[in-house]
Amino acid sequence: MVFPEMEDIMGQMGNFTKIQDAKQRYKSGVIPYATMGYWEPDYQVKDTDILAMFRVTPQPGVDPIEAAAAVAGESSTATWTVVWTDRLTACEIYRAKAYRVDPVPNTGPGTATEAQYFAYIAYDIDLFEPGSIANLTASIIGNVFGFKAVKALRLEDMHIPIAYLKTFQGPATGIVVERERLDKFGRPLLGATTKPKLGLSGRNYGRVVYEALKGGLDFVKDDENINSQPFMHWRDRYLYCMEAVNRAQAATGEVKGHYLNVTAGTMEEMYERAEFAKQLGSVIIMIDLVIGYTAIQSMAKWARKNDMILHLHRAGNSTYSRQKSHGMNFRVICKWMRMAGVDHIHAGTVVGKLEGDPLMVKGFYDTLRSTDTKVNLQNGLFFPQEWASLNKVMPVASGGIHAGQMHQLLDYLGEDVVLQFGGGTIGHPMGIQAGATANRVALEAMVLARNEGRDIRNEGPEILRDAAKWCQPLRAALDTWGEITFNYTSTDTSDFTPTAVAV
């Protein structure tokens, strides 16, 4: 890729040399991070290194290379001043090394955005505790994000070496075993979140679950903020939901599930709820991202031990993943969550109501599902990632999607995904069962057509209309929502679109 402005900007970058003389290097005082050894442009990345790529917006007057070195320093061994105790350690090893700094296309002078840089940093594997996302993140997204020398900082991507990856359990169940357990193959799974999100009693709540499952969905889901509130306590919800699940299984002969949210204030309470869900025969439980990385890893271990599918609702992620200049990219969350061991994660719909640029979403899905992710700058994948036989995570597409978009959903997201139609099921004019049936018929008709070799991207609406001729619920769904789209510009977009090159 060629960016005409790149040469100019490269010219503005400082020329730093690592201080080799020990006496000079460890003299008390403050010296640039770049000369301390945190900037090594010739560094040869080791197979066991953990790599991170940050989007850095330096403060005015701060050299981009010094900013990158500072990020490397602050996320590993450095503090603001020289310390002699460095010399008691093999500090050359423990120092993270910024080894590459590239200007971000379409930023800097002459553009609407102030200059940003992609900084590549390598970390030695011994900087991190095996099998601990908490420890990994305490360094990589710890103090450094508040560091004054950078105006904004965003963690864009990471490469996890096999040696470190193998210290993590990975998804408790994974796509393959989830499908085998559910006996459902060759098509996306269908789900819905019970609505209204809050206020239903346990008994009324279970009604929604039964209707949706009997109508044709595979899963119904608690929402992220359904835990144990005055209007419905958790045991009551679990009992009514499992009655609904079992009744629906008897009515259809299929395996069905309801994601029982076990999120609670303490681990003890979460374990108690998970145990009860298991006793009742549920195939799946769910947690929220806000419980924290350690709690997620604990629940993943519990899920593996108890043959339970673990669904993760990404509640909270948009506080730090949505804005392009600061925070972290969701693809890194995807990576960490695959390591931490969840089986499902909400990862965008492309066409629905929530944030999700098609190229970015493709990158998230690849990160969750592939066995060997390739570099793809357009999709935001800056590093290759061999997944070392960690299970695959099933992405979940949820938020403002409906049966009329089925061809786009299948085309963009593929078949290993849970499509969740909350409003698109419960808001159906003929009732919840009819809403579920409309979605299932639309889905199966589309998969059938795709397998027959039809061009669903273009023929999709026609395929849906044909199925609606014999399926009245689908006809009603298309009449109600057929034209609904959410066309807003995404905030988190690719830096490497073909148009950017053409400018």
Binding site: V176, D183, T252, V255, A445
Partner: protein, 151 residues
């Protein structure tokens, strides 16, 4: 009731032409296709009887269709499905599975509830047809009627 196991159970029963097109899709992906049948349709009955081994190295759906027809002829009143196996690393599992025959009548499932402590309920699911012995669980409507009429 209509058992909705399998990938295309919400669509009208597939014609042989449609089945053949799905087999062609499986063969294009390099999957081996097998024919399986059962008269125990419990959702957790994983191991249906195999009508021969999964068929490897086929280029055309006609070979699988011949086995589908042969299985239907021998077992006209049970559930028959096609199962496609993928041997690719990272999958090594079933990738598509759908019914290609179902009995004329599907009496459905009995749900047994056993009260347990703390309002918990233990659920037991069984197909009504399972009460009859293997081989006599599903009969065509004509056969049932003839039996009823006989003195």
């Amino acid at each position: 009731m209509r058992v909705t196991q399998g990938t295309f159970s919400f669509l009208p029963d597939l014609t042989d032409r449609q089945i053949s097109d799905q087999i062609e899709y499986c063969l294009r992906q390099g999957w081996a296709v097998g024919v399986e049948f059962t008269d125990d349709i419990h959702p957790r009955n994983t191991y249906w009887e195999m009508w021969g081994l999964p068929m490897f190295d086929l280029r055309d759906a006609a070979g699988v269709m011949a086995e589908v027809r042969a299985c239907r002829e021998t077992h006209p009143d049970v559930y028959v499905r096609l199962t496609a196996f993928d041997s690719t690393r990272g999958w090594e599992t079933v990738r598509l599975s759908f019914l290609v025959q179902r009995p004329a009548e599907e009496p459905g499932f009995r749900l047994e509830r056993t009260e347990a402590e703390g309002r918990s309920i233990r659920y037991g699911l069984s197909a009504y047809a399972i009460d009859r012995p293997v081989g006599e669980r599903y009969k065509s409507k004509q056969a049932n009627a003839a039996q009823g009429d006989s003195p």
